[in-house]
C-alpha cells in the first residue's frame, strides 16, 4: 500500500463520516419540520433558511449545558453507555456502499469504507451491540424509570433481532453472498427488460418483515417503548443530560439513516439505477445521488410513521414480534432456501421435486397452522374487520404466493385481533364484580 492508496482510504473514511454526520444533523431538523407539517404546526423556522440552523443551536445548547451526574449512578457504566451507543452507530455504516466507484489517477475508489466478506453480518453484530448502550444506560442510572426503559428495550431488541436476522438471511440465500457489494451487484439488471431487478420484488415478504423489524430495532415510533414519555418519564435516558444525552440522541437519529441505508442496500439495489448513458466518475456521482434519494424515501417513511402511528402496548409489541413476524420469517427463509436449491439442482429430477414440494408444503402448513387457529375465534366472535384476510387458507403447493397477503396485512390484523380479544376484559369488567 503506497501513500496514494492510503490517502484514498483516508478520503473515503472522512467522506463517509462527514456525509453521515451531516445527514444526521439535517435529519434532526428535517424530522421536526416534517412532523410539524403533518401535525399542522410550523416547526423550527427562525434560525437560518427554513430554520435549518436550529440544529446547530440545539447542539451548542446540549454541549454547553450543565452535565449532571446523579448520586446513585454506577459511574463507569453510566459514562460508558452513551459512548457505546454513539460508537456503534458510527461503525455500522462502514460496510454500506453509498455510491459508485470513482477513478482517480488510475486507482479505483469505491464509495464504501470497508467491504469485508462477512459484509452485512457486521451490521447485525453492531446492532446487537447497540443494545448495551440503552440497557446499560438504563441500569446504570440507578433509578426506576430508566431501569424499566432499559429492560424493555433489551427485550424488544432481542425479539426483533430474530425476524431481522432471518429476513436478512433470506436475502443472503437468494443472492448467495453476504458481501454488501456483491448483493448490490446481484441486483443489477432488470426483470422482463423494464423493472429493475431489485430484491424487493422476489423478496417482498422479507422486505416487509425487515422494514418492521428495523423500525423496532431503531426504537422509533410506534416501537419506542424504551423512552415512552407518557409512562416512563423519558425512559432509559431520563437521568442523562448535556453531552451524554446528546450522544444517545445522535445515535438514535443516526440509526434511522443507517437502517434506511441497509434497507436500500438489501432490497433496492443500493446505489444502482438507470445510467442515462453516463460513464466513469459521472456515473459514480449519479449513483451516489440515486442512493441518497432512495435513502431519503425511507427516512421519510420513518418520520411518517412517527407522525401518524400511536405507540404500541408492550404485549402487542411482543405478540407481533414472536407470534407473527418470527413464524412468517422462518417459513420465508425455508421457502427461499427451497427455491434456490431447486434452481441449482434443476427440474429433471422429478422424484426429488415431488418429495421436496410435499415436504415444503407440509412444513409450511405445520408452522402456519397454530397461527391461523388462534386468529379464527377472535375474528368470528368479535366480528371485527381484522380476521378476514388471514382467515383465507394458504393454497397448498404455492405457499409462497399465499404468504404475501398474510405478511402485509398481519400487523394490522394483530391489532384487530387483539382488540376483539381484549373486549371481555374491558367491557365485562369481571375483576370489579369480584
Amino acid at each position: 500500500m503506497d501513500w496514494i492508496e492510503f490517502l484514498l482510504v483516508v478520503v473515503r473514511v472522512l467522506l463517509a463520516f462527514v456525509i453521515w454526520l451531516l445527514s444526521t444533523a439535517l435529519l434532526i431538523w428535517g424530522e421536526r419540520r416534517l412532523v410539524a407539517k403533518m401535525q399542522v404546526r410550523h416547526g423550527p423556522n427562525r434560525l437560518g433558511p427554513f430554520g435549518v440552523f436550529q440544529v446547530l443551536a440545539d447542539g451548542a445548547k446540549l454541549f454547553f449545558k450543565e452535565d449532571i451526574t446523579p448520586r446513585g449512578v454506577d459511574r463507569a457504566v453510566y459514562f460508558a453507555a452513551p459512548i457505546v451507543s454513539a460508537v456503534v452507530a458510527f461503525l455500522t455504516f462502514a460496510v454500506i456502499p453509498f455510491g459508485g466507484t470513482f477513478t482517480f489517477a488510475g486507482r479505483e475508489m469505491p464509495l464504501q469504507v470497508w467491504d469485508p466478506e462477512i459484509g452485512l453480518l457486521w451490521f447485525l453484530a453492531m446492532s446487537s451491540i447497540g443494545v448495551y448502550g440503552i440497557a446499560l444506560g438504563g441500569w446504570a442510572s440507578g433509578s426506576k424509570y430508566p431501569l424499566l426503559g432499559g429492560i424493555r428495550s433489551s427485550a424488544q431488541l432481542i425479539s426483533y433481532e430474530l425476524s431481522m436476522g432471518l429476513s436478512m438471511a433470506a436475502v443472503f440465500i437468494w443472492n448467495g453472498t453476504l458481501q454488501a457489494s456483491e448483493i448490490v451487484a446481484a441486483q443489477s439488471g432488470t426483470f422482463w427488460g423494464a423493472v429493475p431487478a431489485w430484491n424487493i420484488l422476489p423478496m417482498s415478504p422479507a422486505f416487509v418483515l425487515f422494514h418492521i423489524a428495523v423500525v423496532a430495532e431503531a426504537q422509533r415510533p410506534p416501537f419506542d417503548l424504551a423512552e415512552a414519555e407518557g409512562e416512563l418519564v423519558g425512559g432509559f435516558n431520563t437521568e442523562y443530560s448535556g453531552a451524554k444525552f446528546a450522544m444517545f440522541f445522535l445515535a438514535e437519529f443516526m440509526a434511522v439513516i443507517t437502517m434506511s441505508a441497509i434497507i436500500v442496500t438489501l432490497f433496492l439495489g443500493g446505489p444502482s439505477g438507470y445510467s442515462f448513458g453516463l460513464e466513469g466518475n459521472w456515473l459514480a456521482l449519479l449513483q451516489f445521488v440515486y442512493f441518497v434519494l432512495k435513502v431519503l424515501g425511507f427516512v421519510f417513511i420513518f418520520v411518517w410513521l412517527r407522525g401518524s402511528l400511536p405507540r404500541l402496548t408492550y404485549t402487542r409489541l411482543m405478540d407481533l414480534g414472536w407470534k407473527v413476524m418470527l413464524p412468517i420469517a422462518l417459513v420465508w427463509v425455508l421457502l427461499t432456501g427451497f427455491v434456490v436449491t431447486f434452481q441449482q439442482v434443476g427440474t429433471n429430477q422429478s422424484f426429488f421435486t415431488v418429495v421436496a414440494v410435499v415436504a415444503a408444503a407440509t412444513l409450511t402448513l405445520m408452522i402456519l397452522a397454530p397461527f391461523f387457529r388462534s386468529r379464527e375465534p377472535a375474528g368470528d366472535e368479535g366480528g371485527g374487520g381484522g380476521g378476514t384476510p388471514v382467515a383465507r387458507p394458504p393454497a397448498g403447493g404455492g405457499g409462497g404466493r399465499a404468504l404475501v397477503p398474510a405478511t402485509e396485512t398481519s400487523p394490522v390484523d394483530v391489532d384487530g385481533g387483539r382488540t376483539t380479544e381484549r373486549e371481555p376484559e374491558t367491557v365485562g369488567a369481571p375483576r370489579s364484580e369480584l
Binding site: V77, E117, I118, L124, A125, Y132, A135, L136, I151
Partner: protein
C-alpha cells in the same frame, strides 16, 4: 508480524477481562467484563483471518447470550449482594480440582499435538523441501480460504462436522426445554389466567356463570 504484535496486546486483555469476571463482585460488572472478553477473542479470530467466526462470536455471544444474561440480572435487581459462602460442602476445593483437571485435559487433548517442534508447520524454505514429518496436515490459510472464509466454514460445518453440529443443537434445545419445565410455576391450565381469558372465553359471553366461577377460582389461586 502483525499477528504476533496484536496477539501480545490482545492476550493480556483477554486474560485480564476473564479474571475480572471471576473477581468482580458486582454481577453486572462481571457480565460486562465477559462481554469484553468475547470481544478480545473475536479480535483474535479476526487477526487469524477467521472473519466469519469473529463476527458470529460477537453476534451470538456478545449480542444475544450476554444481553439475555444482563436482562435477567437487571430484572432480579443487583442491589441484593450475592451470597459468596459455600452452598455445598467442599465446593471450592472441588472447583479448584476440576478446574485443574479441565486445564490439563485441554492442554493435553487440544493444544498437545501442536506443542512439539516436529508438529510445527514448515515455514522456512529448507523445512518445506523436507518431507512432512508432522502428523498434522499443514494447510495454509490460502488453501483453507480458497473459496472464501464463509464458504469454507459452511462446508466444514455441513459436511465433516455435521454430526457434532446437530448434536450440539439438540443439546441446546434440551437445555432450553429443561429450563422451561423447571422454571414453570403453574401446575394446571386454569392457573394461567391469561390462557383462560384469551382462549376460553365462553359462548355466553363474560357474564356466563361457569366462566365467572372458573375465573374466580383462578384468581383465588393466583391473586395477581
Amino acid at each position: 508480524m502483525t499477528e504476533t504484535v496484536l496477539f501480545w496486546i490482545i492476550a493480556p486483555l483477554s486474560l485480564g477481562t476473564a479474571l475480572s469476571v471471576v473477581v468482580l463482585r458486582n454481577p453486572v460488572h462481571a457480565a460486562l467484563m465477559l462481554v469484553g472478553n468475547f470481544f478480545t477473542i473475536a479480535v483474535l479470530y479476526a487477526v487469524m483471518e477467521a472473519q466469519f467466526l469473529a463476527v458470529v462470536q460477537v453476534i451470538v455471544y456478545a449480542g444475544a447470550i450476554m444481553v439475555l444474561f444482563l436482562f435477567v440480572i437487571m430484572l432480579l435487581g443487583v442491589e441484593r449482594q450475592l451470597d459468596f459462602g459455600e452452598r455445598i460442602r467442599g465446593q471450592r476445593a472441588a472447583a479448584v480440582f476440576l478446574g485443574v483437571v479441565l486445564l490439563a485435559a485441554l492442554t493435553v487433548g487440544v493444544a498437545g499435538p501442536y506443542l512439539g517442534a516436529d508438529s510445527a508447520c514448515p515455514t522456512t524454505a529448507e523445512q518445506q523441501t523436507e518431507p512432512a514429518a508432522s502428523p498434522q496436515a499443514c494447510r495454509g490459510l490460502a488453501e483453507a480460504n480458497a473459496d472464501g472464509n464463509v464458504f469454507g466454514v459452511g462446508r466444514l460445518v455441513f459436511t465433516d462436522y455435521v454430526w457434532p453440529f446437530e448434536v450440539t443443537s439438540v443439546l441446546l434445545v434440551i437445555a432450553a426445554l429443561g429450563a422451561m419445565v423447571l422454571g414453570r410455576r403453574a401446575e394446571q391450565d386454569s392457573d394461567l389466567v391469561d390462557v383462560l381469558r384469551r382462549e376460553r372465553v365462553p359462548a355466553g359471553g363474560v357474564g356466563d356463570a361457569s366462566y365467572q366461577a372458573e375465573l374466580q377460582q383462578s384468581l383465588e389461586e393466583d391473586p395477581r
